[in-house]
Subunit: 347 residues, 4 copies
């Protein structure tokens, strides 16, 4: 075992990041050390890289960021029983306090003092990462490292789509980032009657079609509300999965929603936005779920089922693969909107 | 049977209303004619009376307004089977189209072309009102007319409170208008662990205490978020019933809500308002129900159970009783915030 | 319009049936007259034909039986608004009393005084059938008559499978009659992780495979509990859809169910059977849904979605097609276990 | 700290038990040692004491039995963080394996390899008991020891009653043992419209009335189905909580249940019994929940809310209090049906 490792670090409070040689993390008695096979780039990582307002308020430097990952357990703390050296794992990245009301009533994903890997503690853009053993999810040995890694954001999509019934219903996914694209595939595999997807990026819309969208609507070119009302006999969609965080898309989503419909919101507007509570929520009789993270571990089992059975092929969404040291090119592609999900390989 | 009747009519597109002599309504083959015993004043009626922006956009004059009522069936159309002359009824005021997707999947309360009694068709501020027989709810003979009448708005409160479990949970009711006040009593009777209520009107807060509020918080004098956080050990409430439509109260409500909590919104802001979707819905993992009307007829059965068993005494909320011709005094009291629910008796 | 029609009638309280010339039914003011295109044979019809104990207790002769059907509206009563002559319809066969607690709380399918077409009133094995207009479901013009007809039993399967979430879960269907076979296809189309099916009839098991069963288990040859425990890593299935009514299959189903699993029972044992409530329900923490009929109309919309999108192809289950007058051959095939669903064409 | 303690032990495979001097349990690194204040007698303990067929099959002697208890933490293992010496605790008695499907999807109460305190491992009829720290529930200091102890079975009642909505509904509790009696109080406090209770023991029926039963029916003297049908206008009850395990009471419960109603079964018949699946489950459209243990920890929070607010006073059910050494008299009272819940104090 070497003493240091390569790691991608936000060393200073400014845009960018730096490849550094860092000490391999020490583990405590309840922790495991994971040798990272793949780490995939989340939108959150882009905020950190670009050092936007959110990142400036939240992140303490220096920070090795990155949280979506897969890898092999190479060391376990002395209290660890259920995870073994050589287990091939992915990580639940919401590390909740155990002695907390929400954790104790099975809502650990919204536990208020949750700490997020690669945000509130050292992350996975490195050769090794240390985490509490209780956040390890064991993968089948044959799963590709980048597929194992994306189970975390794929799980966001699963939780969003399945937060209420979707089978035989019409569904709109607003926003075709990676999670939106997987949501299209998940809704389709779950027996949605029709899945409409909106975005303004033609590359992403093409992937949405590949994932099974009934109609991928370029909302820069057509009015998605009009298209959807026409396709649904004037009724609107039963289900809206909001994945964009974009105020205009959110408004279109509510306008396309039928009275009595269901909305699950994962997208994060960058600031408070105007909402027509009277017409879009109350008179519409809408049910809205705020979606944060994933159910621990129910969503992971569902994710595994979708992927290992082949019901959803997540691969079309993974558009690029780089070595960790090529990170600058990876983040540039992300910033240019030319990539969907990008995988980094530290080995 | 006389040929004309006294009725309170919005005769011209301006503030106020006029007591007129109007023809007794003709009924069609599926309709019933009800001799009104009591009609109670809804907030909607105040909007119509005051002729605010909403009323100007929605109401076509001349209109006999009013929709909460009780009375005796005096005539039935020839196709009517299940309602009889002399039945003592209250009315479901959302008259939904039967051949409609929402109606056919048991969501008639949000059927998009629903017509509302006293808003979209001639209402109950009169000696007689005609409605389709299918909106009649039969009352026990011993129920007081004004109690029978307020079952409609009481049902709004029932549907709001019971849209998800409330037993053993902590509940915040923001806004102590009549529906908010009943919501306090309903939550309490349903086994809520604690019911907090907020308003800025001391008279209403006093009624909230009478209805069983654990703490009635004057939000002009104390910070309700602080009070609630302290009372709930820093966690916040499990359930928010938003009854005010007031942007500041709505924000306080979300701030006082625990992560993973439930919100039911009945209050109608007069215009779109800013909502912090990221922090108040998504990261909070909130579930939000838009509440429109009542479940037909499930809510009515629940309402009947609460009232006839005495589990909730609705009377403290009915602060004033007037003859129909004293309407001007009634609306003045409402406008001055000196009344909660006011009953008008046309006989 | 002729005055009489051909009809298959249980004329006397004994096994068999008789093709008779009967008067064309008169319709009342709320009724429609349907010219039958296709009528399909239900297991209930077989009980009536064979005149078993259940039929002897329930059926009053003479009875034109049959209830699954499709056809064209040729006449409407004077109060009928929402159905027109030439509408192409299928029929909801549970004719519930409207003024009833269950009907009024959206549980019309279990309304206690429900009358069933072709059981409690004259049915559809005829050239014409009369029903209340409110039980008519409008079909797309292009749907084949026998497909339109089987929407009724297909709806039983939809309601059974979708009575709780099935997506990403493991499912066992015990009993591969027509409804069980469709349940296999519906579970698969709804994103079930695996669908196991059991029966002892090799022809039906072959159709189960065609409908998408992961494993079709001949329980005369292999122990389904052993197979399922092995396939699910010892855990058992998440969901049991009981379609057989067979005591041994029911016991196997519970044994194969995981702790905390869900059971939906549509199968009808011919008499009370022994159930190990302690181990199979209580300690197992099972949730059990008794499934009667279909949700009116939610299940019909779901059924239409599955069939018209092609998500489920119901055709492999329709093994035989006969003219109405060939009924004897049709019932013989059913009795011999050589047919799944059989369609009769009266025209 | 002494080296030995008094304990009530099933020393030999035969009826009865023996007060012995046993070594104080050693704790492991994840365990706590609790000095018992009170331990209450469960029906399970009576089976063990009487050495019935179930006990003979399940219990390995020697066994210190008893599992409902409260006490003070006097020692904690070195890995224990969230429980401290001098915490006043009650114990969740279902000790589930953590690395298990059910535990990981929030169904730990039905985890298949769950070990039960005082059944599968040494229990609480002693001065001290050792358990994993993760099963400790912290009590308010002012709670009486026997009240703190009965939170475990009270939780069974909470989980049973609240497994689906009960507010404004009619409820039947069959079987007025301690858990049934608390269920009466809980249903009442949760806003049930009416709570009917059945038993054949007049003492227990008297307590049922004290707990708030609308009618306590002696089913040896009156037909409960007839009474309930009459009281509910012929409809039957919305909810059945089966607490007796008695075949006749179970049949009466189903007969009294309305079509579309809900059943929660906690009672344990001593052997498989005949169930009319066709009429009592399928055609009735019943939903049935098998209730095992409690939700960990949601039910405990609810229990605490009911008890600490005074919404339910559990005390009338605790009919007797004894010193541990008076155990023989306690078990005799239980066997004679002269006691409801009995508390033993080892100090």
């Amino acid at each position: 075992m070497p003493e240091t490792m390569r790691a991608l670090c936000k060393t200073r409070p400014e845009a960018g990041a730096e490849l550094i040689e860092a000490p391999i993390p020490q583990i405590g008695p309840d922790d495991i050390l994971v040798k990272v096979r793949a780490s995939t780039i989340c939108g959150t990582d882009l905020h950190i890289y670009n050092w936007d307002a959110w990142a400036q308020a939240r992140i303490k430097t220096p920070l090795i960021f990155g949280h979506e990952c897969s890898g092999d357990v190479v060391e376990t703390g002395k209290n660890v029983r259920d995870v073994k050296v050589s287990d091939y794992v992915s990580l639940e990245t919401h590390i909740a306090t155990e002695e907390s009301y929400q954790t104790r009533i099975c809502q650990a994903n919204v536990e208020p003092s949750v700490r997020i890997l690669g945000v509130d503690r050292q992350g996975s853009y490195a050769e090794y990462v240390a985490v509490p053993a209780r956040v390890a999810w064991k993968n089948p040995k044959a799963m590709a490292p980048e597929i194992a890694s994306i189970q975390e954001p794929f799980g966001n999509a699963v939780y969003t789509v399945l937060s209420a019934p979707v089978t035989a219903k019409t569904v709109l996914v607003t926003g075709c980032g990676p999670i939106g694209l997987w949501a299209v595939g998940i809704a389709k595999a779950s027996g949605a009657q029709a899945v409409y997807a909106t975005d303004i990026n033609p590359k992403r819309l093409a992937i949405a079609e590949e994932m099974g969208a009934t109609i991928a609507i370029n909302s820069a070119e057509a009015d998605p509300v009009e298209v959807i009302k026409r396709e649904t006999g004037g009724i609107g969609v039963d289900v809206l999965c909001e994945m964009s965080g974009n105020p205009r898309a959110i408004k279109q989503g509510f306008d396309a929603l039928r009275n009595g419909g269901r909305v699950s919101i994962l997208g994060i507007p960058s600031r408070p936005i105007e909402v027509d509570i009277a017409n879009d929520i109350v008179f519409k009789g809408a049910t809205i779920y705020g979606i944060s993270g994933r159910l621990i571990w129910e969503t992971w089992y569902q994710t595994q089922a979708f992927i290992t059975t082949g019901m959803v092929n997540p691969s079309p969404v993974i558009t690029h693969r780089f070595k960790l040291e090529e990170y600058a090119e990876a983040f540039k592609l992300m910033n240019d909107g030319d990539a969907a999900k990008v995988a980094l390989f530290p080995q």
